[in-house]
Every structure is written in structure tokens, then in C-alpha cells.
């Protein structure tokens, strides 16, 4: 059936194509509907079906992609992540690495230009994902990003106790929405408990491959043209700089959101949409009845795994159905019932305690909160912050051009436009810990990529296809460096050495329950074991007055903090390499503060070193305070 796919693009009227119309029967919600299909029927050589392309071209593409991968590996051979500076992994980029990206990009657009079969285009994107997202785990050998370690801690809790506790005082939010953690714990136990960290390390690769399948599924509901789909997919991955693909509930909920929207668009679009959009891929229409159980399952997992994705699910679906882009009132109702039901039944305690955290009706302030989060960055991090924003600005500009072009040609898909815009409603509801703008960009990203692809899409003669390839390559040349800045730029602080992991592991094993543990900042492998038993105090997260007092007299203040804990349980101070790097790059204390604190504790007779792994030092009081 796919072989019948139209070569005309959704959103773009084929310029040189002679169109023929035919009728096909499609099953729409059980009813047989006759809809017109338009096929471009250009008899020239370039419109040959992909399957009859010379095999040699495809083998050439395969060889080029393998060559690019080889260059990438050679470029990173022997690289030491300790050498990263304030622009993260980009510091380790070498000429072969840059050349590999250039070759891969060039090869992709050449393949797109010559209408290569889908597997050739897919191969480029899969290799791109493998190289970009597989490099940090291959190079670091440890889990990247501090929050991922905290999530490991929740899974470790479930594996240790066999349950979640919605009334727990330490991080109750994860116990109230435990879907991702319950699933991860079950998968870990099926594979063997020792696999938890190695599973978590490779999660970005797995989530991005899942994203690839889900985004393809979604985009194929919007257009029948494989080149638009793969161009959009390429743009999707070179604009996904947010790094929300780490071991987290968001990482799982996002592809599920795309699958859900794809199912809704396939099973619940109104017939008039099909007749308006003559290029709609009728072969992909699915029966609403068959799809309903899958939608309920996906909605349940989204509603029980995350906090903001269910909100986005409700907003997106409600907007689609209220504005009559889809039919079947039960779909948004199901989404609301599952989301609100979970929040008020299983997560009732957390929800009621944090209702005042919703900042309804303050979209500007909520956006500003996101920008303020990166207001204190220093050195190369300013460039990193700028790179991410520029990437999004360029992608959105291209998408707006795409919307305009589609509108001019009377091929604008209102459903896709609505799903592009609906994430902005999040701004009116919550600031989400100062991260809501990132989530808006995330949920809009597949549709941004789709419209951006339409902006540069040309169909027809060879010259037009060459223009498409050149424009796409130029756009990638602008987007890729900013993507790399945004995605790799924070790796200096996101990288934790095995010595740091060893120190944190020792501390979490040896500290008695509720003993005070003072940490320089929260940027280290934190809370991944026995997390609920730890009483952690972060110097960097103290109010400024308190931080200043610590900096003025580190040994005195910190010994007081520890002494305030349980008398029979020795307290500890942990200073690690990554804490120092993070503080020096993104604050909040002056550069070198944690190094000065460490030196002061080393010199103080009140403290002794309990463990020194080279990259991390654990201090404890020289004597028990009772004995003193």
C-alpha cells in the first residue's frame, strides 16, 4: 500500500506535476468513505519509484555513512572527558569529527535529492542518533547528568523495598507518579539488578530511537511524501538540543505523547480534513475502535508517569477536539479523567499540597522564570545558552515560513498548526520549576520540524530538488553547531568520573540513616542509593547569607551544621570535582569557592579526611562531638 504513496507533498502543490485523481475506499471508523486521491504523474526519470533506483547509489550511501561513522570514532579516539572545558564535549571535537558530521549531512541531502529509498534515509538518521547520543556514554562510562542519578535512586528504592510510598517525605513526587520508575525497576529486575546503571547510561540512545519511530509515525499522518517526512525527521533531531532524553519520566512520556497524537490524527480526523487535503495518506487511517485500547493504555502510562506531559496531553487533545480538528468527544474526556483521576487518587497528597504551585494566568512571568535560570552562567556557558536559543529561534522562523507557504498554497494542515501552538498554553498554567519554556519547545518540536521541512521543500524538476538539498544543507549548517552547543555544551558539569561515583557510593553505604551529609552542590552522582535515609544539605542551595557565612569560615560553619545532627551518627562533608566545575560555570558561588572550602577543611583540625578518591573528598569531624 505504501508503494501507492503520492509523490506530491502535503502543504506544497506540485509545481510541475500533472495530477490525476482516483478514488479509494478507506475504512474510517468502520464506515467506507470514498475520497479523492491525487497522484503526481510526471513521466520524467527523476520520478521513478524509489524501489527501482540503481542499487549502486544506495551502496554508495551506505559506504559514505560508514566512512562518516569511522571518522567520528577516529576523531574521538583516546579523548579524555576530563579535558572538557566550559563548552563541554565540544572541546574534544577534532577535525575528523567535524568532517564526519559534514559528510553525513551532505550524504543525507544527496540521498534526499535523488529520492533514495526510505532505508537509506533512515540509515543516515539512525547513525546520526547513534553518534550524537552514543558518544557521551561510550566516552564517559558513567551516567551523565545529576538528575539521572536521582532517578536511579527511586528505581533502587523500588528494587530494595518492592513498593512505592505515596506518603514518603523524601521526593514524594516520584512515588506519586511512579510509572517510569515502576517500569524501569521491573525491566531491571528482569535483566538482572546489576544492569540498572548500564541501562540508564544508554537511555538517551534508546529514547531517541523511540523518538525516531514515534515522530515518523506522527509525521506520516501529516504528509504522504517520504522526503518531507525524513527531512522533518532530520530537522527534528538537529533541533532537539534540550537534552530531555536522559533517564527520566519525561524521556519516556514524550515519545508516548507523539504516538498518542499520531493515533488521534489517524483515527479521529474529521472526513472533511481528508477531502480538503487531497494528499492525505488514506492508507494510514486506522479504525477508532481498534485504536481505543492502545490510546487508553498510552494515556494511562502518561498520566501515571509524569506531571507536565498529562497536562500537555489534555491541552492538546482538548484544543484539537474543541476546535473541531478531530471528532470523538470521549478521547479528551478520557485524557481528563485519567489525568485528574491519577492526580486526585494516587497522587492526592502531593497534588493537594502543591496546588498553589500552579501559576495560572502568568504566561510572561512563567517564561521569564525559564530565562532567569540561566542568568548567572559564566564563560563558555553564555555561548552554550545562546546556542540553544538561537537553534530554537532559527527552527521556529523556518517553521513560520513553512506555515506561510502552506497557507499561501491552501494546503495548511490546521491540526498540525494547532498542535504546534497548543504547547504555548502551558505557559498560562505553570512555571514548572522554571523549565516550562523548555517543555513548550519540546512538545512543539515535531510540528516545528514538519513546518520547517515544508519551508524548504521543493518538488518537481531536478533543479528544484537540488535547491531543496542545498537549502536543507545550509539550514543544517546553521542549526547543527547551535544544536551541538546546546546539547554537548553542559557536559563539563554533567560528566562524573568513576572516582566521584565511588566516593558517593561509599558515603551512601556508610552514612547512618538521617546522619547529616553536607555537599558542595547537588551536581554530582546524588541520591542513587538508600536515598530516603539521607539527610543532605547543599551549600550551593543555601540562601546567599548562609553561603557567605560558610565561605567566611568554612570549618566553623560546617562543623556547626554537622554537630546539629544526631549526636550518635557521624556527619560528613562531600566535595567533588563535578561540584566545583558546576559552581565555577553556573554559580551560584564565586569561582573557586568549593576549592577554597576543601582547602580550609583539609587545613582545619576540626575535620579529617574519611575518604579521598582523587576526584572527591569525604570529610568527617575529627572527633565525635560528645567525646570532645
Amino acid at each position: 500500500l505504501d508503494g501507492r504513496a503520492s509523490h506530491g507533498a502535503v502543504g506544497v502543490r506540485p509545481s510541475a506535476a500533472v495530477s490525476t485523481e482516483r478514488h479509494d475506499n478507506i475504512a474510517l471508523e468502520g464506515a467506507s468513505v470514498q475520497l479523492p486521491l491525487r497522484r503526481s504523474a510526471v513521466g520524467s526519470n527523476h520520478d521513478r519509484p524509489p524501489s527501482v533506483q540503481p542499487r549502486w547509489d544506495n551502496l554508495q550511501s551506505l559506504a559514505i555513512v560508514l566512512f562518516a561513522a569511522l571518522m567520528w570514532i577516529i576523531g574521538f579516539w583516546g579523548a579524555d572527558p576530563r579535558d572538557m572545558t566550559d563548552i563541554g564535549l565540544l572541546t574534544l571535537f577534532t577535525l575528523p569529527v567535524i568532517a564526519a558530521l559534514a559528510v553525513l549531512t551532505g550524504s543525507f541531502f544527496i540521498a534526499l535529492r535523488r529520492r533514495a529509498p526510505e532505508w537509506v534515509l533512515a540509515m543516515h538518521v539512525v547513525v546520526f542518533i547513534g553518534l550524537i547520543h552514543g558518544t557521551p556514554p561510550a566516552l564517559f562510562h558513567t551516567l551523565r547528568y545529576g538528575w539521572a542519578w536521582k532517578h536511579v535512586g527511586i528505581v533502587e528504592y523500588i528494587l530494595r523495598t518492592g513498593m512505592v510510598d505515596t506518603t514518603i517525605s523524601s521526593r514524594p513526587i516520584y512515588h506519586s507518579w511512579p510509572g517510569f520508575f515502576g517500569g524501569s525497576a521491573l525491566l531491571t529486575e528482569l535483566l538482572g539488578r546489576s544492569t540498572l546503571l548500564s541501562l540508564a547510561v544508554w537511555t538517551p540512545v534508546a529514547f531517541n530511537l523511540f523518538n525516531l519511530l514515534a515522530a515518523r509515525f506522527l509525521l506520516r499522518t501529516l504528509t504522504d511524501d517520504r522526503r518531507v517526512v525524513w527531512l522533518a525527521l532530520w530537522l527534528f533531531f538537529v533541533t532537539s538540543w534540550l537534552g530531555l532524553d536522559y533517564y527520566s519520566p519525561q524521556g519516556l512520556a514524550f515519545p508516548l505523547y507523539m504516538v498518542l497524537m499520531g493515533l488521534v490524527l489517524r483515527a479521529h480526523r474529521r472526513p472533511r480534513d481528508f477531502s480538503h487535503n487531497v494528499d492525505r495518506p488514506v492508507t494510514k487511517v486506522m479504525s477508532a475502535r481498534a485504536v481505543l485500547p492502545i490510546m487508553v493504555l498510552v494515556m494511562t502510562v502518561i498520566a501515571s508517569s509524569h506531571q507536565i506531559t498529562p497536562l500537555m496531553m489534555v491541552l492538546g487533545l482538548t484544543t484539537m477536539f474543541i476546535l473541531r480538528q478531530a471528532r470523538g468527544w470521549h478521547v479528551p474526556v478520557l485524557a481528563v479523567v485519567l489525568t485528574v483521576g491519577w492526580a486526585l487518587v494516587v497522587a492526592r497528597g502531593y497534588t493537594l499540597d502543591h496546588l498553589n504551585g500552579l501559576t495560572i494566568g502568568q504566561p510572561v512571568q512563567n517564561s521569564v522564570d525559564t530565562f532567569e535560570k540561566s542568568a548567572d552562567v559564566r564563560g563558555g556557558q553564555v555561548l552554550v545558552s545562546f546556542g540553544g536559543r538561537l537553534n530554537t529561534a532559527v527552527a521556529l522562523s523556518a517553521a513560520l515560513v513553512g506555515v506561510y507557504k502552506a497557507w499561501r498554497r491552501r494546503r495548511l494542515d490546521h491540526g498540525a498548526l494547532l498542535l504546534l501552538l497548543s504547547p504555548m498554553l502551558l505557559l498560562a498554567v505553570t512555571e514548572y520549576g522554571g523549565e516550562v519554556l523548555f517543555r513548550v519547545v519540546l512538545f512543539a518540536s515535531p510540528f516545528t520540524a514538519y513546518f520547517a521541512a515544508l519551508a524548504i521543500y521543493c518538488d518537481g524538476a531536478e533543479g528544484a530538488r537540488t535547491r531543496l538539498a542545498v537549502t536543507g544543507a545550509v539550514l543544517t549548517a546553521i542549526l547543527l553547531p547551535t544544536f551541538l552547543l546546546g546539547y554537548y555544551g553542559k557536559d563539563a558539569q554533567n560528566y562524573f568520573t568513576p572516582a566521584e561515583v565511588k566516593a558517593a557510593s561509599w558515603l551512601y553505604e556508610n552514612a547512618q540513616p538521617n546522619a547529616v551529609i553536607v555537599e558542595g552542590s547537588r551536581n554530582y552522582p546524588q541520591r542513587f542509593r538508600n536515598y530516603e535515609k539521607l539527610n543532605l544539605l547543599s551549600i550551593a542551595n543555601e540562601p546567599k547569607d548562609s553561603r557567605d557565612r560558610v565561605l567566611a569560615d568554612p570549618a566553623g560553619r560546617l562543623s556547626n551544621w554537622i554537630a546539629a545532627g544526631p549526636s550518635h551518627k557521624p556527619g560528613y562533608v562531600l566535595i567533588t570535582r563535578s561540584q566545583k566545575v558546576a559552581n565555577d560555570l553556573i554559580g551560584p558561588m564565586p569561582v573557586g569557592s568549593l576549592e577554597r572550602i576543601e582547602q580550609a577543611l583539609r587545613a582545619s583540625p576540626r575535620f579529617r579526611v574519611a575518604l579521598n578518591t582523587g576526584d572527591a573528598v569525604v570529610f568527617t569531624l575529627a572527633e565525635n562531638r560528645n567525646q570532645a
Binding site: I158, L186, T283, L297, S304, V345, V346
Partner: protein
């Protein structure tokens, strides 16, 4: 080139995975084999039933369904505090096999069986219509299953045994016991409604326990068993109760 049949893939994968999980075999092959099983096999048959023409879409839905099932079973066990990897595996394996099983045959057999069990043969005793003893079995069976599940929970039976039974019971029986009172003509609709009502009852019971600050998984199961037992008692009473035939002499049931 012919694609391998999904039935074969699912059955082979399930058998291999069972051979690794149930006897707790530790081997380097366990990780890739069980990883593939967990993220693709339980949903493979169900995705295949949609008959999607595109392999990528079918693979995506197989992965989506499998991952979602993994999440639902994992979080369900954690919330119900019945953690058991073997129990979870049995649930996933059952769902995987059901995905490729000839369900239409099962439905037909189940329909016939339920008609026999539920309606039974009726005979007229004067103006009174009585049922044969066969119609006693379903409610009695449902009651005894409830007692069995409650006993397993209270006696803290091995979780590998407890988890699938408790999850299955919570998902199906309380709702089925209630829905049977309505005597829907469509058996498939009856089953679907039973699952929905069971989930709703579980939510209501959980919410009641939270509001009353008496959260206890054992109490929750006990409440559901009581609800199901009340419904089955009601069915037994109505079935056994002599019913007058309508004036036109038609049969009830």
C-alpha cells in the same frame, strides 16, 4: 521474502524468556534476550492484529504497547505492594501469547460456555420457571476465587503466585460479578464492562481508604472481595428465586 510469522516469534520468544526467568538462569545472553522480550514481544501480537501495512509503524506500536504494559505491571505491583518479577513475567507472557492467540475462537467458546453456565437450561414447573443447577456455578466460582485471593494475600503466599492472581482479580472479578446482575446480551460487552467497572471499583476503594487514612493493600483487596461476594450473592438469590412466568407464558432468563 516472507516475514517470520508473529505467532512463531511471540511463542519462541516467550518460551525462551520463560526458560531464563522462571528457573532464574543467569547468563550473558539473558540481558539482550529479555530486553528484546520486554520491550517488543508483549505488544507484538496486538500490534500485528491492527494489520498495519508499514513495518515501522507496526514495530512502533509493538514497542509502545510492550513498554506501556511493562510500566503498568511494574507500577501496579509497586503500588499494590506485591512485587514479584516472576509474577510480572507471567502476566506479560500471558498478554504476549493472547496477542497472537485465535481470540475469535476463544470468544465463541466462551460465549457458548457462558450461555450454558449463566442461563442454563430452564424448565417450567407450572407457572414457575426454574434454572438447572448449572447456572449456580459462575457466581459460586467467582466467590471462591475471591476467598482464594484473599487467603493468598492474608497468608502472604509467594509473590510469584500472589501477584498475577491479585492483579487479575482486581482487573476483572469485582466488575464481572456486578455486571452479571445486569444480564447483558453481548458477552464481549459484558467482559469489557467488567474490566472497566473493576478498575473503577478499585479506584473508589483506594480513594475511600486514602480519605479515611486507613491505607492498606490487604484491606483494599478485602473490600473488593466483599463487593464481589455481595454481587454474587445477589445473583444467586435472583437466580434461585422462583420467578413467575409472564402472563403470555414466555420464559425469563
Amino acid at each position: 521474502m516472507n516475514r517470520p510469522s508473529p505467532q512463531l516469534v511471540v511463542v519462541v520468544a516467550t518460551v525462551v524468556a520463560s526458560g531464563l526467568v522462571l528457573p532464574e538462569v543467569v547468563t550473558p545472553a539473558r540481558i539482550p534476550l529479555l530486553l528484546v522480550f520486554a520491550v517488543a514481544i508483549p505488544g507484538l501480537g496486538w500490534a500485528w492484529r491492527l494489520r498495519l501495512p508499514d513495518t515501522g509503524d507496526a514495530l512502533l506500536l509493538a514497542i509502545t504497547i510492550s513498554v506501556c504494559l511493562l510500566v503498568v505491571v511494574g507500577e501496579g505491583m509497586a503500588l499494590l505492594r506485591v512485587w514479584s518479577v516472576k509474577g510480572a513475567f507471567l502476566v506479560l507472557a500471558a498478554i504476549a501469547v493472547l496477542g497472537v492467540a485465535p481470540l475469535h475462537l476463544f470468544v465463541r467458546v466462551a460465549e457458548q460456555s457462558m450461555i450454558l453456565l449463566r442461563v442454563g437450561r430452564t424448565h417450567t414447573d407450572g407457572a414457575v420457571v426454574r434454572r438447572d443447577p448449572a447456572s449456580w456455578w459462575p457466581p459460586v466460582l467467582l466467590s471462591w476465587i475471591g476467598v482464594l485471593v484473599l487467603a493468598l494475600v492474608v497468608r502472604e503466599a509467594p509473590t510469584a503466585l500472589r501477584a498475577p492472581l491479585v492483579i487479575g482479580y482486581v482487573l476483572m472479578v469485582p466488575g464481572l460479578a456486578c455486571v452479571r446482575l445486569v444480564r447483558l446480551p453481548n458477552r464481549l460487552a459484558e467482559l469489557a464492562l467488567a474490566v472497566g467497572l473493576s478498575l473503577a471499583l478499585a479506584v473508589v476503594v483506594a480513594q475511600a481508604m486514602i480519605y479515611l487514612h486507613v491505607w492498606s493493600p490487604v484491606l483494599g483487596i478485602a473490600m473488593l472481595v466483599i463487593i464481589a461476594s455481595l454481587a454474587t450473592c445477589a445473583e444467586l438469590l435472583t437466580v434461585h428465586w422462583p420467578q413467575r412466568t409472564p402472563p403470555d407464558g414466555g420464559e425469563s432468563g
